[in-house]
């Protein structure tokens, strides 16, 4: 595959991510911040996000597994997760977190468990998508090309 094809592939992969709501404008902002001084900014931030989220999800699972659930703690974790996901633009994860927080306020354990499932699901989806995206980017860079900066939505 040549660079042009790979770049097209990148565009074709990226556009649906926005349309389907996996990512929002914040992700674009992150991409904007990546320049010569900071060539791996996005990958760094997203990796940090993955680490953080995995830790938080583990903590959440543990907290909701208790006999007496400490909803305050659960809420704090979800709040962190929401913050992280909104910072990188993982929109669906963030939305799932918002719903999760509502049920935390109501102290509804069953609903919280359901929400946790949802969040985990969304997280897995967005993680897969982002990892695939990074792989494509690595391929482009390895082939000597550059990651497209313009996303024209006319096509």
């Amino acid at each position: 595959m040549d660079v042009g094809q790979m770049q097209r592939q990148w565009i074709d992969y990226t556009k649906p991510l926005f349309f389907e709501g996996f990512l929002d404008g914040q992700f674009l902002q992150l991409q904007q911040l990546q320049d010569e001084n900071n060539p791996d900014f996005v990958v760094e931030v997203v990796s940090l996000f993955f680490e953080d989220s995995e830790r938080l999800l583990k903590d959440l699972t543990f907290a909701l597994d208790q006999n007496v659930v400490d909803f305050k703690k659960v809420d704090a974790h979800v709040h962190q997760l929401k913050g992280s996901s909104s910072s990188i633009g993982a929109q669906r994860v963030k939305n799932a977190c918002i719903a999760f927080r509502n049920f935390c306020e109501e102290q509804n354990t069953d609903a919280c468990l359901r929400c946790l499932q949802q969040v985990k699901q969304e997280y897995c989806l967005v993680k897969n998508k982002l990892e695939t995206l990074f792989r494509i980017e690595q391929q482009i860079v390895a082939a000597g090309g550059s990651i497209p900066t313009e996303l024209s939505f006319s096509g």
């Binding site: 929002d24 940090l48 996000f49 953080d52």
Partner: protein, 742 residues
């Protein structure tokens, strides 16, 4: 012849006669001597006898008389001259004393007589006083009875008890044979026997109310004697052998709540009365005494008062129960309303969020697009897209605001803006649509219209756009004229706006905008409905399915908030219509011009990595690693020298006078506010202190207040784009304060 000194008696002595005389004289003398002794004895016994001197005289007189008669005894025989002399002396003395006594008696007998008269008088007086005493005692007893009766009657508020007690006590006090109470029926045409003393359950025995005897009783407030043949008095079978007891009837006023005036006792002509009938025992020959009748009258009045108290109490208890029920119902309604409001607010908040998200995508992508290479035409298009999306974002805010508008919690902003460029933008936005419909737009801005004004730019633009948009929407052809000028005080006294009384002042002016179109016009009757939310103009529904009817309602609210007035005139269908509004704006002087606030407008320079932040030392405090990294990347991209901290302690440890700005997250779990306070304490000199800005995703209104309270210099919302951060930083460094609207 012997010469003796004897005196011969004059008369020849007749032996028997002399003997009798002798004996009589002896007894007389005895009596005469003993009487004074008796007198002295009795006087000694009674101390009050006032005439002692008379007694002494009398005594002397009697003694001397006695002596005379005694000496007379010796004169019956031949007696010597001495005896004669003694006799004579005694007689003379006697004569003197007796004359004196006689004279004295004349003196004292009237006195004695008058004593007797006085005695008689006093006896009469005593008898009279005795009678009066008897009367007073009777009255006092009556009074006591009345008090006792009143006490009994007033001690209860239960109607039945009051009446029963009255009858019982009256019966007891006056010793009645029968006592009954007749109450008027509901219809008011009959009297029904309600209570009697002796019979336990009076059967519903009624008499018509308009009998002459009853009228007579009702017409006077005194107790009236009635015949025992009259229907109200036939209370029990006639059992006596002789005369049935005397019967008396008295009226008992039944006072209604509505009869009471505040200051005087009710005086009403048509009143409800009950009838109380009292019967003395038959065969007793007792008659009704005046004091008994008075007692009955007083009792009747007291009963009336007690009954009215009972009625008032019943009424107030009923009212209280009603109020309690209403209270409960109102409480329920209030809670339901609160639930509904909360549901609505939740819905609005969620919808708001859902709507903002795609908006941000559009705004972000459009601003990105701007940063790329575009032709001039494309650039213009992109700018218009951006402006429209910003406007749309404002509109979305306003959907939430509409509910806040209605709650009265919306506050307008007051910033300086360019009035002329606002109109230009409006025209730019409308021109495309108008030219498609082949309508011509003729704007006319008065020459005295100030360049800059102070007010809420967004909402003013929204209002103008709405009005002009309506004009364009409802015109198929022709031209639309837009005029804007400063309203003069004279023009205020307009017949069309009678309630509007603007107050001209030095710091404000009134902007008047008039939009005239030659379109389909409006029926004058429909004009009032125009400003009602969601009420569509029926004749235009077919042509305008997209209009939700919210626009003018929101406009009117904004105009009202800007202390203005908006109205529409039309001469009828097909004759076009004119929309006019006046709003109050602040006068901006040239010095205000430079302090332009941060508005989400696209900055003019699309240059990457603006360098006037080069080396700006900034501190970022956020406990969320991802968030911290993103913010750091953002600031570094703008050229700042960024230090990060993940907690307040770390921040305090790292901060120094060289840091110009500190961005801190302030949501729960962090003591961002506490940090602000500590920073204030640490840097006492104003120029040493870094600017403290809250950078948070928390959109609650209270956040802004809290930030201001702890003395922070700014608040901006996450997520934040590169451009926005650029603008924020320049503004912060220039104005040293920036609070974004939450």
């Amino acid at each position: 012849m012997e010469f003796c000194n004897c005196i011969d008696p004059q008369m020849p002595a007749d032996d028997l006669l002399v003997k009798y005389q002798y004996i009589s004289d002896f007894f007389i003398a005895l009596a005469y001597f003993s009487i004074p002794l008796e007198l002295i004895y009795f006087v000694k016994k009674s101390a009050v006898f006032p005439y002692k001197w008379v007694l002494v005289q009398f005594g002397a007189f009697i003694v001397l008389c006695g002596a005379t008669h005694l000496i007379n005894l010796w004169t019956f025989v031949i007696h010597s001259r001495t005896v004669a002399i003694v006799m004579t002396t005694a007689k003379v003395l006697t004569a003197v004393v007796s004359c004196a006594t006689a004279l004295m008696l004349v003196h004292i007998i009237p006195d004695l007589l008058s004593v007797k008269t006085r005695e008689l008088f006093l006896k009469n007086k005593a008898a009279e006083l005795d009678r009066e005493m008897g009367l007073i005692r009777t009255q006092e007893e009556t009074g006591r009875h009345v008090r006792m009766l009143t006490h009994e009657i007033r001690s209860t508020l239960h109607r039945h008890t009051i009446l029963k007690t009255t009858l019982v006590e009256l019966g007891r006090t006056l010793g009645l044979e029968e006592c009954a109470l007749w109450m008027p029926t509901r219809t008011g045409l009959e009297l029904q026997l309600s209570y009697t003393l002796r019979q336990q359950n009076p059967v519903g025995y009624t008499v018509p109310i308009h009998l002459p005897v009853i009228d007579q009783v009702f017409s006077s407030n005194k107790a009236v004697t009635i015949s025992h043949n009259c229907p109200v008095a036939r209370l029990r079978p006639y059992a006596g052998k002789y005369m049935p007891g005397s019967v008396v009837a008295v009226r008992v006023p039944l006072l209604d709540l509505s009869n009471f005036q505040i200051y005087d006792w009710p005086e009403v002509s048509t009143r409800n009365y009950a009838l109380m009938v009292l019967m003395l025992p038959s065969d007793s020959a007792r008659q009704w005494h005046v004091h008994e009748l008075e007692l009955v009258e007083v009792v009747a009045d007291q009963v009336a008062v007690a009954l009215s108290h009972a009625a008032i109490l019943e009424e107030s208890m009923r009212a209280r129960d009603q109020l309690m029920e209403q209270n409960v119902a109102l409480d329920l309604a209030r809670r339901e309303a609160e639930t509904a409001i909360r549901a609505r607010n939740d819905f609005l908040a969620v919808m708001n969020h859902e709507m903002r998200t795609p908006m941000h995508a559009v705004i972000a992508l459009s601003s990105l697009l701007q940063e790329t290479d575009l032709t001039a035409e494309q650039r213009l298009m992109v700018e218009t897209i951006l402006k429209s999306s910003n406007l749309l974002a404002t509109l979305i805010n306003d959907v939430l605001d509409l509910s806040r508008l209605e709650d009265g919690s919306l506050q307008l902003e007051a910033t300086t803006f360019n009035l002329h460029s606002l109109f230009r933008e409006v025209l730019n936005l409308i021109k495309p649509v108008a030219s498609v419909k082949k309508l011509s737009l003729t704007p006319h801005l008065a020459s005295d219209l100030p360049m800059y004004a102070i007010g809420d730019e967004n909402r003013l633009m929204q209002t103008i756009l709405n009005v002009v948009g309506n004009a364009v929407k409802f015109s198929k052809e022709g031209c639309i004229s837009i005029t804007a000028f400063v309203a003069k005080p004279e023009s205020f006294r307009d017949a069309r706006i009678p309630d509007f009384l603007p107050v001209p002042s030095d710091s404000h002016f009134y902007l008047r905008v008039q939009v005239k179109d030659s379109g389909s016009g409006i029926n004058p009757q429909d004009i009032p409905k125009l400003f009602t939310k969601f009420a569509q103009n029926q004749s235009l529904t077919t042509r305008n399915p997209a209009g939700s009817g919210l626009g003018l309602a929101i406009c009117r609210r904004f105009v009202n908030l800007m202390e203005g007035h908006i109205w529409i005139e039309s001469e009828g269908i097909g004759k076009g219509c004119t929309a006019t509004f006046i709003v109050k704006l602040g006068i901006a002087d040239r010095s205000n011009e430079l302090k332009l606030p941060f508005v989400p407008k696209v900055p003019g320079n699309p240059v990457h990595g603006c360098t006037h932040f080069a080396g700006l030392k900034v501190l970022v405090m956020d406990d969320n690693g991802v968030s911290r990294t993103v913010t750091k990347g953002l600031l570094m991209h703008l050229g700042c020298d960024v230090t990060t901290a993940s907690s307040s302690e770390e921040c305090l440890g790292v901060v120094s006078v060289e840091h110009e700005v500190v961005f801190m997250e302030v949501c729960t779990g962090l003591d961002g506010y506490e940090l602000a306070v500590r920073l204030h304490e640490k840097f006492t000199k104003h120029q040493d202190r870094p600017l403290m800005v809250a950078l948070t995703g928390n959109t609650k209104r209270v956040t802004k207040e809290n930030c201001m309270r702890v003395g922070m210099d700014g608040l901006i919302l996450k997520p934040i784009s590169v451009d926005k951060m650029r603008g924020v930083l320049s503004e912060l460094l220039e104005r040293r304060v920036l609070f974004e609207t939450v």
